[in-house]
Each structure stands twice: as C-alpha cells, then as structure tokens.
Amino acid sequence: MADIATPKLDGKIRIPLMEEGATAHYHTLESSPALNEALGYPGELVDNWQEKAIEKFREVLDTNKALRVFMDICVKCGSCTDKCHYFIGTHDSRNMPVARQDLMRKVYRRYFTLGGKLFPKLVGAEDFTKEVLDEWYTYFHQCSQCRRCSVFCPYGIDTAEISMAARLIMNHIGLGSKYSNEIIGKVYNTGNNLGIPAPALQGTMEFLEEDVQEATGVDVRYPMDEKGTEVLLIPPSADFFSAPHVDSLIGYGKVFHEAGISWTVSSYASEFANFGMFVGDFHAMRKIAQRIKDVAREFGVKRIIVGECGHAWRVGHSFWNTLVGPWDFLDSRYPVPQHICEFTLDLIKRGGLKLDKSANDERIVTFHDSCNVARASSMGGYEGGQFEVPRDLIKATCNNFVEMAEDTIKESTYCCGGGGGLLTDDLMELRIQGVLPRAQALHAVMESHGVNYLALICAICKAQFSKVLPYYDIPMEVVGGIHQLVGDAIVLGGAKHEV
C-alpha cells in the first residue's frame, strides 16, 4: 500500500474549507502517440492546438444541446459547491463542480460570447493558454462523471457532460489520458478492456465449471461462444478474473442453470464496459456497442442480458438504442438490454429460484447505489426501479439488510471515487481521497449495525472499494457483488421452473 495519510473515520461527512490548488499536481499519465492514433486522434499535442481546440469546441457546442445550454445558464448560485466527493475529499476549490465547469466556461466566454470578447476580466473569461489547458487536463481528470452535482443544480447542469466534452476536445488535439485510451484500444483489438485473449477466457469458464461442480456437486455450465442460445450474457470483463467480481459471474451461471435457460458469453463481445463514454466520444461508444450487436446477430440469440457494471449499464440502457438500435432481430418481449438483476428478481417473483437466505446469515449487508445506475438509468421499467430492484434482490437473498444514511444513497449516492475513467494507479491519491464520504457513511453503519458486506453492482466500484477502503482500515473483504449473495443463497435444483 502506498503511504498516503487518511483521516480517521467517525461516520460524519464534513464540508471542508477550500484549499486552492491542493491537487494541482495530480496528473494522470498522458496517452502515447501509438494509443492516440489507434483511436483516430493526433499522436501528440498538435502545434496549433489552441486553434484546433476552439474549432472542436465550436463543433461540440453545435452538436450537443447540453453543453450549449450549460455554458450559458449557470447563475453561480453555489448550490453544487459542496456536493462533489472529490471536493469533500481533496479540499481543492477547483473540485467544486461549478469551479470545474468554469475552467471550460471561461474559455467559452472568451471565444464565443460578446461579453468575454470585449471585457474578459469582468465576466471571468480567459484565453485558452497552455496553463489553462494544464488545468483542464488536471481537473477534468478529477471528475468521475457521477452526476451528483447535477441533482442539486436548479437547472440540472451536469458537470459530467462538461468533463466528457473537455476530454473529447483534448483528445482531438492529441492530449488524452493513457488509462482510458489504452482501454478503448484494447476493446477494439481483443474485445475486452483487459485485453484477455479468447483461450484465456475459455480457460476461466472451464475452471468455473469445475469449481462449482466441486463445491456443489451440480454440473452448472459456463458456456462460451455457443451459437443459438436463448441469452447472450455480456459481463464486464473483470468478472472473468478479478476478485470479488468472479463470484458474481458464478452467481449468474447458477441463476441461468436454475432458470433452465441456455446462455453463452462471447469471447469477442466479452466486455460490457464502454469507455467511449468517459472520453465523450460518440463514435468510439458506437463502435464498441456495435460489436455486441454484431455478435448477438451472428449467434442468433433472442435476448441480451448484461452483468453487474455501472457505467456500461448507462450506455446499454440509455444509449444503445440510439447508438446502434433498433434491436428488432431480438425477442421484443424483453427489454434490450436486460439487467441481470432484473432477470433474477423476475425469476424469483415467478417462483423460479429456491433461495436459502440463511446461507447469507453471517452477512450484514448494505447497498451502495452506483452513480450511473442511480442517476443515469433505470431498472424494472418504472421510475426509481434502479433503487428498488437491487434492494429487493438483496432482501430476497439475505436476512440482514441495513441502509446507509439517506443523503448518501439512491439519487444522492456518493461515488466510489474511481469511476469515469479514473480507476488508475497514477490517480491513487485522488481515489483514496474521493472515497471519503462513502467511507464515512459505510463506517457509520459498520459501527451501528455491524455491517460487514457492501453489496455492489458495478465492476469499477468493486475494484475501487477493494483497493482504497483498506486505507481507512475497512477490510477489502467487505466488498462483494449482489450476485455473489444470490449465488450463495441458491439451492441448486430446488425450484420447479418453466422456461
């Protein structure tokens, strides 16, 4: 563990005093020329970057209503200033959402508004200098695009949209983040973020079959690249290899087994994640989504079910239809895509799963609403279903469920601190600081109710929490997926089912 000091938890979330420039030195690694070029961006910062950036800025303003409106209408009321976990964790004044937005807005005003052209000083407008570009790179890579600020803004101004646009503009002048660009390149090449080749995936699936056989005595299948199945399952690729992610994959397999539904994963569309969103690149997002559609068509499946992944659920739920829809070759009785939690809960409600809750009796569970599920998508087909479906599922699988404080859950949930393309070692300090409000809320229920399981439905949340909670003396073992709970509670062969 890196040597990074953290405050002692006491369960209280405090709004800090501002510290100008506290994180000005955070600088996530820049992407290499080869990585940039593979995505169609210039290899390195182009000579006339300022001109190119303004050109791209204009183009985004003309094609993105949100940016167009948000640049103009912020009244600097201050309602958002205390809402960002990175401000709470780092104290850096530039991490107040409106201050982050203003890094872009000051350039907007200088080049695109009369006031900013005539009286830059009076309206807070500034030339797009190298210093400003550095600020952009620093602070637009300190936004996890969690949208919490947007909830409390009188106009719904969403800093996530602004940081996506800023990263898009930066990529187009040759200044990208290594972490995100490298991952997008890997998806293009191998089909998943981790760059895992097909044989390795196959190995994992076979290993899981043996593992589950050994543990339960039942032959649960973990199939890959089988054509003509009912379901194509698209998990986040972390589910194949990382702990605790893989336990959820085990859970999905058991659910399908009990449902008696044939399913498969694809070695090429082996990744639900879509980092095109983090860099605000519509075209990258579309390309990444397209390969899933291609595989679904090629395999001749009837429906697509997706695994526990937060930002990708946003892309799937909210964007897929626009990006690569319509999905008219799939069975229209099921939503595209369907979330594994929706599928499992529905199965439970129809009596298709026998669950032994007592298998989870040693667990006292709380649920962390992942940002992109809570504030950027829904579940179950009804307003607010994204809060109820996972909770109903947890309550169906275990006896001890506790909520964290009201202002830290559901629509007001605090980010894990690692979303939005920031889950990289070179931003470790930021990630540790950013988890603070969530860690406080978790600590409070650990103290009051003995909570020992933080249930999640997001691969990034799982990785981030496992890594950073230990800095606050919370063991990484508390972290787990909802389908880990499901998998542990399922009584295999226990339910009569209809397909």
Binding site: G40, T63, N64, A66, C77, V98, S318, L323, W327, S378
Partner: protein, 245 residues
Amino acid sequence: MTSLSMVYIILYYIAFAILLGGFLFKIWRFAKTPAPLVIVGTPGAKSGIGTAARVASDALLFRSLFRGNRWIWVGAYCFHFGLLFLIFRHLRYFVWPLPMWYSQVEQLVGVTGGIMVVIGIVWLLGRRFFHARTRYISAFSDYFVLFLLLAIAASGLLIKFRVRTDIIAVKTFMLGLARLHPQPVPADPWFLLHFSLVLALLVYFPFSKLMHAGGIFFSPTRNQIDWTRSTERRHVSPFENTKSA
C-alpha cells in the same frame, strides 16, 4: 417633442429590439442544437406529462435548488416571485384597459413585490460577499447584475414612496411606446433614472446568465423522457448517418 424625448424613445426601441432579438436568438439556438443522446437525470419520468411536471417543479418551485441548498432557495424564491409581482404591477404601463380587480390588488401586490425583491437581492448579495465558496465562484458580472437589479428596485420604491412622480405622464409615455405612438417622456429625473436602468437590464439580458430564464426549459437532464429501452421509439442522434472512425 423635446430632444430628450427623442433620445429616450429611440433608446427604448433599440433596447427592446436587442432584448427580443437576443433572447429569441438564444432560445432558437438552444432549441435547434441536437442532443446526441438521452442524458436525462434519473429517476426521470417515463412519460411526457411526468417530465413536464418535473420541469414545472423546477421552474415554479425551484425544487432542485430546495434540495440542494435551503438558504439560497429562500433568497432566490423571494427575489423571483417578488419580480413576478412587480411585473404584474407594471402591466398597466403596457396594457390598457385592465380589469377592475387589477386596480384593487395592484398596490398591495406591487409593494409586496418591491419589498420581496429588495430583501431577496440583499440576501443573495450577502451570500456572494460573505459565503466563502460562493465568493470564490463569483465574477464581477455576478455582482454587477445584482447591483443593477437592486438599483432598479430601489429607484422604483423611491418613486413610489418618496419622490412621487407624475404617474399619469408616465402612463401616457409608456402606453405610447407600446402602441407605437410615442408621447413625450416625463422629465422627472427619478423616473428617468429608473427607466434608464431598466433599459440597461434589457440590453444586458440576452448576453448574460440571465438567459437561465429561458434556458431552464432546455436542460436535457431535466426535460428528456426516460424511455430509452422502448421498442416503439428511438432517440436519433445528429451522427446517425455519419460513419464512425
């Protein structure tokens, strides 16, 4: 007609044209800029009516601001609804005749509005000056517009309670402007001050953050409908037929 009248009449029409043209241009631009994706903040309504209710609750009740910060909400609500009352109070300078009940409530509404506006502005200015985070995000223009509004409100109240101007002359002048049949401007310095400040506000409006007045209805995070998984409808992006790299 005096040259003073000529100047004010011309200024009025110029200011009015800038306000109207600028405001409509900006609104048109908000409206025509496409939204690449559905980015509605969830939980969001699944129907048009629900979405309209959501936008209305923000426009009329400042619901999100209320959730975000009660202190700002109090000041903002006081100010904006005071402003609404004042606009009502000034209707008689634009429309005539007005119904009977108008003259019965106009005084009360006007005075209440004036007081609410002044209290609201002072409140919000106080936050800008003394609340550290708000001060940090404020530029000169953020103070300027509050002072401008304060000056307008104060000069208006002054005319009403202290210096008294010739209301009939003001009405004749204003209605003349509205009917495109200009009349001489009342040469009362307090009225001219009040009137000039309002003209400045009109001109400033479309170039400033005051555009939130129309912009609030165009924010995709609030006015979009959460029906993205529907098989019947599909949100189409401006890049629908472009090839991805």
